[in-house]
């Protein structure tokens, strides 16, 4: 893992003390709210419905056990005993007192964490494939490049007041697990014919009220040009991105209005002047950062294969969990474990302090001290020997963390919605809970197969509903909640934006509607190997419209 150098330590500590002074001046009345609000937002402190909310950055979703224990400590000491892992691979605390936030940030700094750039019109936390460094299908670990981007973008003076927020995602495999095509910049790490590393560069993706799929503007950017080319994109955006209308200020609108070809041309012009400057990454620097992300020494543990077969035979629950939540690792004796934060009927992404402590303990004991947060709101242990899966599973079962549903219909993404969020129009969590309860049996979920439901409580789409196979968007209509359903969205290498299927559903009817959609799919799929998304792409929306509305009017 990356370790702070002296500069990082000094910088983060200085920011904590600066914020402490700002909070004290705010509480004493010396600073008015209008002056203070942008300062607190720069340090990740929002005001929500019930209280302040602190969003803590987890760069590219990677954590050590020590850091996870600190997150648990903060939940216990300053909050109400839990935290919420988000679709940005971050964690949010829902109840911190403003007066405590400097102490929280100080505690975070002690384990090399902070809340910088988790708000505001700057470059936000860079996200990455949660299986980075472990996945059997990756070309190279994308996290060193995410870390280079993090260092470059941290309080970058030129890019701290952009027209709007800016999100970058990086993946290192053909299978896109980081949803790069719905980010402002998506980077696909790959090799050219000569084996040299570089990136396919996508620009202008995003969700929110105007969902757009990013356009590829470079098929192969050599790795040494990462910062100069990214800077070129940022400069074009900073110059031409709209500042007159916040709803048209994201780079996706600029790309759409300018045209990808013309925008790429402008970027190339800027890039030509930056290419051979100090922004060019020396190989030694790339290697130095990459060395922090070197995989752990993984001794051969071939005994795991026999053990695993025996354990699976003896315990059906364990077998189901391995089947669903353990993915192949680069090393054949190891697996990548998804710890589901989606217990049946639970709150997607929430974890209690004791659960966080437990994950830290087992990561230390069985997983080389490494934990990831996925953008699907689960936790990942990227390196676990097959020979250790059974005791690890037992520990998870005891803490309610062994739900065997990764990638299934109850592995639902949901934003905090109107239960917490000041921007929301409708609740997300109770809808997720009811759907989860309805489809809770493992057998039923396994029969349905891969199906991603994503729920947002407003058009800002933090719950990624646009790329849900089934997406639910909560709106307020005549003072009541209503849920609009989209079908056919996907956030992978074949990204698509879901299509609105018809008029919305009241809260008490939305789970029935989802069940109707699922039953329709089960009735029309060619066989069990045809997933919901494949079936939808084959047959289109009509069978689902017919099932949901019959001959009734479909207008949204």
């Amino acid at each position: 893992m990356y370790r702070y150098d002296e500069f990082d330590h000094a910088f983060v500590s200085a920011r904590v003390e600066q914020f402490r002074d700002q909070v004290q001046r705010r509480l004493s009345g010396e600073l008015a709210e209008d002056a203070f609000k942008p300062l607190r937002l720069m340090n990740g402190v929002y005001l929500q419905l019930h209280a302040y909310m602190l969003r803590v950055a987890i760069p590219y979703g990677t954590l050590s056990s020590r850091q996870m224990r600190m997150l648990a400590h903060i939940a216990r000491k300053y909050d109400r005993g839990y935290g919420h892992f988000t679709t940005r691979q971050n964690i949010q605390y829902n109840w911190p007192a403003l007066s405590d936030t400097p102490d929280i940030l100080n505690d975070l700094a002690s384990v090399e964490m902070h809340a910088l750039q988790t708000s505001g019109n700057c470059i936000r936390n860079v996200t990455a494939d949660h299986f980075a460094g472990a996945a059997a299908d990756e070309v190279a670990d994308p996290r060193p490049y995410a870390e280079i981007l993090r260092q470059w973008s941290s309080v970058h003076p030129e890019f701290s007041f952009l027209p709007r927020k800016f999100k970058i995602a990086v993946t290192g495999a053909e299978r896109d697990r980081a949803a790069i095509q719905v980010h402002d910049i998506g980077l696909h790490l790959k090799k050219d014919e000569s084996g040299k590393l570089g990136f396919a560069v996508y620009v202008g993706g995003g969700q929110g009220r105007t969902p757009m799929i990013a356009k590829k503007i470079r098929d192969f950017l050599p790795e040494e040009d990462l910062l100069s080319y990214t800077t070129a994109i940022m400069r074009v955006y900073n110059l031409h991105g709209r500042r007159d209308n916040k709803y048209k200020a994201r780079i996706k609108i600029l790309v759409h209005e300018t045209g990808a070809e013309e925008l790429a041309r402008q970027v190339e012009v800027e890039f030509a002047s930056l290419k051979d400057t100090e922004l060019k990454l020396p190989d030694a620097d790339i290697q130095a950062i990459a060395s922090y992300f070197a995989p752990p020494e993984l001794p051969n543990r071939a005994e795991g294969w026999g053990n695993l077969a025996r354990w699976k035979k003896a315990d059906e629950g364990f077998a189901q969990w391995v089947h669903q939540n353990v993915q192949p690792h680069k090393h054949p004796d190891y697996g990548m474990v998804t710890i589901s934060l989606k217990p049946i009927g639970g709150i997607p992404g929430d974890a209690t302090d004791s659960q966080m402590d437990l994950v830290a303990d087992i990561a230390e004991e069985y997983a080389f001290d490494e934990i990831r947060v996925s953008h699907e709101q689960n936790l990942i242990l990227p390196h676990v020997a097959l020979a250790d899966l059974e005791p690890l599973y037992r520990a998870l079962v005891a803490s309610g963390l062994a739900t065997a549903n990764a990638g299934l219909i109850t592995d639902i993404i949901a934003c905090p919605g109107l239960d917490y969020c000041a921007l929301a129009n409708a609740r997300s969590i109770p809808v997720a809970q009811e759907i989860s309860n309805r489809f809770g049996s493992f057998e039923r979920q396994a029969e349905i197969g891969e199906l991603k439901i994503k729920i947002s409580g407003c058009i800002n789409a933090c719950g990624h509903h646009h790329v849900g196979h089934i997406g639910l968007l909560g709106v307020e209509k005549k003072g009541a909640e209503l849920y609009q359903i989209t079908l056919g969205g996907s956030g992978d290498e074949n990204t698509s934006i879901g299509e609105i299927i018809g008029r919305g559903f009241e809260p008490e009817k939305v789970t029935d509607a989802v069940e109707t959609i699922v039953d329709t799919y089960l009735g029309l799929r060619r066989d069990k190997s045809e997933t919901f998304l494949e079936a939808y792409r084959r047959v289109g929306p009509q069978p689902f419209k017919d099932a949901l509305y019959g001959g009734a009017q479909e207008a949204a």
């Binding site: 705010r26 509480l27 009345g29 008015a32 709210e33 005001l47 929500q48 419905l49 019930h50 209280a51 302040y52 109400r80 005993g81 839990y82 829902n94 911190p96 007192a97 403003l98 007066s99 709150i347 929430d350 209690t352 109107l418 239960d419 917490y420 929301a424 129009n425 409708a426 609740r427 969590i429 109770p430 809970q433 307020e476 003072g479 009541a480 909640e481």
Partner: protein
């Protein structure tokens, strides 16, 4: 006219509060002062501006409420959830809006 109450979030901890008849910011909507005519609403708005300027509270708003069987109920779902807390059992010992005061639905 629709009855109104004054609500805000306390500066130091951000907790949702309502103005009571004694001019105190209290944590229960049910203890809030109810403005039933235009002059009372104007007084609420003035009090809110002063409290904000005095750095006691932030995000000050006058919101519409109705009285149902002696219980104050905000007209908007957003305000009902602000008043009652999250509608979900988010932490051990908390039961969401399942108790007798449930008025979010």
């Amino acid at each position: 006219m629709v009855s109104k109450v004054l609500t805000a979030n306390r500066l130091a901890d951000g907790i949702s509060v309502w103005l009571d008849a004694s001019g105190n910011w209290v944590e229960s909507l049910q203890d809030a002062f109810i403005a039933r005519h235009a002059e009372a609403v104007a007084a609420l708005e003035a009090t809110g501006k002063t409290a904000f300027a005095d750095n006691k509270v932030v995000d000050v708003n006058v919101v519409d409420v109705e009285e149902v069987d002696g219980i104050l109920r905000p007209l908007r779902m957003r305000e009902r959830i602000r008043a009652e807390g999250p509608s979900i059992a988010y932490a051990p010992g908390y039961h969401g809006l399942s108790g007798p005061k449930n008025f979010a639905a």
